[in-house]
């Protein structure tokens, strides 16, 4: 078998879109600048020429409108992919996602399927300020009826996007502006990563670092540094926030007896809280230390780059938390100290 090619995250996503659109002509891509401009982050570059204007559709700046059009199309048998220029803009369409996409299959007693993918970058990039730097997976994962996927590598990006497109439920697919240029090996052709299956990105014995999306890379950086001081951290990439792979989570914590959750978003009622609840409830007597989380600070994102760096989780904070969990120097952070 030959080595897999190395391509960028952006190319991997484009490959997933193209392969799926080739496979199933009910699939179409719709959003701001996805056609003639090739996507704000060039994910859909070349797709207009390849699939034509019926299947690659530029929209006005009207998220509520095109999200709603997509939901209607999904109800009548098409399989839309809705690109948000960023997930921050999807908040305009929150009603469409929460009250329509998440509810209609349930409220129609299954008469309508909702095979729709909402995708785009989420989270902080660089100095995009308070309104454009938000990691919103916790907001959407809160809602029964929505699936939430946050990939961390080009290969997972391709495999998870293809699975999301084939899913008959609404899937929120959250990418990252700062990861589009990330390179990695990606299998050619049919490569599917199932939804709801976590992945051990780095095996370890001493502490389970549960994370997803770009925090996987922060955690891997921290794990490499921790290894030099004899702390063997396991990095568990959830990949899918909802459904959440509880079995993988408990399996890892049962081996390491310590749980650290690294989440880009805010602490209060976030995905980390859900992860920790499952660990505490279902693996209580496996725990050799209180589970802790490393998150953004509980503030709107400052515009100033130096302050932005202070707000976001980084390897230093992950390292400090892991040391504290193992009883080395630093005290454990108090959960309530991180929120108001």
């Amino acid at each position: 078998m030959s080595e897999p090619r190395v391509i960028t995250f952006r190319e991997a996503l484009r490959e997933a879109l193209a392969e799926e659109m080739e496979r199933d002509d009910r699939i179409f891509l719709m959003g701001e600048e996805v056609g003639h401009y090739g996507g704000a982050y060039k994910v859909s570059e070349g797709l207009l020429a390849r699939f034509g204007e019926r299947r690659v559709i530029d929209t006005p700046i009207a998220e509520t409108g095109f999200a709603g059009v997509g939901i209607g199309a999904a109800m009548v048998g098409l399989r839309p992919i809705i690109e948000f220029m960023t997930w921050n803009f999807a908040l305009t369409a929150f009603d469409q996602l929460v009250n329509n996409a998440a509810k209609l299959r349930y409220m129609s007693n299954g008469q309508f399927a909702l095979p729709i993918v909402f995708r785009g970058p989420a989270g902080a990039a660089h100095a995009l300020a308070a309104q454009h730097s938000q990691a919103v997976e916790s907001l959407f994962a809160h809602v029964p009826g929505l699936k939430v996927v946050v990939p961390s590598t080009p290969a997972d990006g391709k495999g998870l996007l293809k699975s999301a497109i084939r899913d008959d439920n609404p899937v929120c697919f959250m990418e990252s502006e700062v990861m589009y240029a990330l390179k990695g090996p990606v299998p050619e052709g049919e490569h599917l990563v199932p939804l709801g299956v976590a992945d051990v990105k780095r095996p370890g014995r001493d502490v389970t670092v549960v994370t997803w999306g770009k925090m996987v890379h922060v955690s891997l950086e921290a794990a490499a540094a921790l290894a030099e001081e004899g702390i063997d951290a396991e990095v568990l990439d959830l990949r899918t926030i909802r459904p959440l792979d509880t079995a993988a989570l408990l399996d890892s914590v049962t081996r390491t007896h310590r749980c650290l959750v690294v989440q880009e978003g805010w602490p209060f009622a976030g995905v980390a809280a859900e992860v920790i609840t499952r660990v505490v409830t279902d693996a209580f007597d496996q725990l050799d230390a209180p589970p802790v989380r490393v998150t953004s600070l509980d503030v709107p994102m400052p515009y100033a780059p130096n302050l932005e760096r202070l707000v976001l989780p980084n390897a230093e904070r992950v390292i400090a938390a892991a040391r504290a969990l193992l009883g080395r120097d630093a005290p454990l952070p108090q959960a309530a100290a991180s929120v108001r």
Partner: protein, 403 residues
């Protein structure tokens, strides 16, 4: 003179006791017979009575604390008498309460807040550390934590277990296995049986006893009803054992320390009894002299008290020999573990209908096998043989059991 109240030995196997609840408080007047506290022993919850008169001057042990037998737990003073502050407690003793020597004003005396006291006493430990400590019977209070913020974590407990030269931690149970935390009684049984098998050189002597006469006697007595209602083989066995012990007193003995044999005057036979939480050994007193009908009555009350978890203060102490009867099960014969410091234990199987040879001919017979387990430090084979000869004679011609 102030009078010290100590943790009493409330059962043969009790080595420490836990003060569950103080029923008298500093400043209270106490008369002999008043209940001072509720105490949890290894077998049961019991009431601790005052033996002396006085005013309760000091409580030296907080509720929930466990102290060794003999430790001073409270001090009584004569009315008006003042008591010096408690001396520094022995290392094994838990935190003493501050001495309260003010004049008796019961309504103004503040009791320790139980919740706060419990919280202050509970060592900070991870759930995993707690579970492992439980599994190995390790006291968390004796461990220094090295986890976050001084939390006692797995490695601390493992180190304590290793330091105590305990066995290696057990391999992970296969998945799907149910884990049941051992109760206090089961733990005591486990520890004492392990000690007995480790320290007592056992040997075993077995005989078969022809039971036709006992079977007939039991049936006839049952027909009489009245005092004989509820008569079982166990009652007949207790009586026969008591008489055999009277005839072979060296078997009614125990080893004291390394060098003293104590031959007991009283013939008190412990009866191994299954209860919900495990095994109890209520003691039937004077099995040699108590008439059989009285034994039936006493054993019934004794076993009922034991099974209800409320044994009397003397119910579980003072046995000089033990009887274990599995005859109600399809058990042919078995060998029991000696209950130290006793010299021996008798294990009894079921009465079986089997062919026997009598006067050169094979005839139907009723046979019971018994096995005597002996502590070879103080019992030799010939002594065991003599005891079994007496027991066999008493059961094969059981009229003596009625005398």
């Amino acid at each position: 003179m102030p009078i010290e109240v100590t943790m009493p030995k409330l059962s043969d196997t009790m080595e420490e006791g836990k003060v569950l609840r103080w029923l008298k408080h500093v400043g209270d007047r106490v008369a002999p017979g008043d209940v001072l506290a509720e105490v949890e022993t290894d077998k049961a919850d019991m009431e601790l009575e005052a033996y002396d008169e006085g005013v309760l001057a000091e409580l030296r042990v907080e509720e929930g604390a466990t102290v060794p037998v003999g430790a001073v737990i409270a001090v009584l003073a004569a009315p008006g008498e003042t008591v010096a502050a408690a001396p520094a407690p022995a290392p094994a003793a838990p935190k003493p309460l501050a001495a309260r020597a003010e004049s008796p004003r019961p309504t103004l005396v503040r009791r320790a807040e139980p919740a706060a006291a419990a919280a202050a006493q509970r060592p900070r430990a991870s759930p995993l550390a707690r579970r492992i400590a439980e599994e190995h019977g390790v006291d968390l209070a004796a461990i220094t934590g090295t986890g976050p913020g001084g939390l006692i974590v797995e490695r601390d407990v493992r180190a304590a277990v290793a330091g105590a030269a305990g066995p290696a931690p057990p391999a992970e149970a296969p998945s799907g296995a149910k884990r049941i935390e051992l109760g206090r009684m089961r733990r005591t049984t486990a520890r004492r049986m392990a000690e007995a098998k480790r320290d007592v050189p056992h040997f075993y002597v077995t005989t078969d006893i022809a039971m036709e006469e006992v079977v007939r006697l039991k049936a006839e007595l049952e027909r009489l009803g009245g005092a004989w209602e509820g008569l079982t083989y166990t009652h007949l066995l207790l009586k026969a054992t008591g008489l055999a012990l009277r005839r072979v007193p060296e078997m009614n003995a125990s080893l004291e320390g390394e060098g003293t044999l104590v031959v007991h005057e009283a013939v008190n036979v412990g009866l191994a009894t299954a209860v919900d939480e495990g095994l109890l050994v209520p003691v039937v007193r004077a099995c040699d002299t108590t008439p059989l009908a009285a034994l039936v009555r006493e054993v019934r009350a004794l076993v009922e008290r034991a099974r209800s978890g409320r044994p009397g203060p003397d119910d579980l102490t003072g046995a000089t020999f033990t009887l274990s009867n599995l005859g109600m099960y399809p058990v042919t014969a078995f060998a029991a573990v000696v209950n130290p410091p006793q010299a021996a234990i008798l294990a009894v199987g079921a009465v079986r209908e089997v062919p026997v040879v009598r006067e050169g001919r094979v005839v139907p017979g009723a046979v019971m096998s018994v096995t005597l387990s002996c502590d070879h430090r103080i019992v030799d084979g010939a002594l065991a043989g003599r005891f079994l000869r007496e027991l066999k004679g008493l059961l094969e011609a059981p009229v003596a059991l009625l005398v």
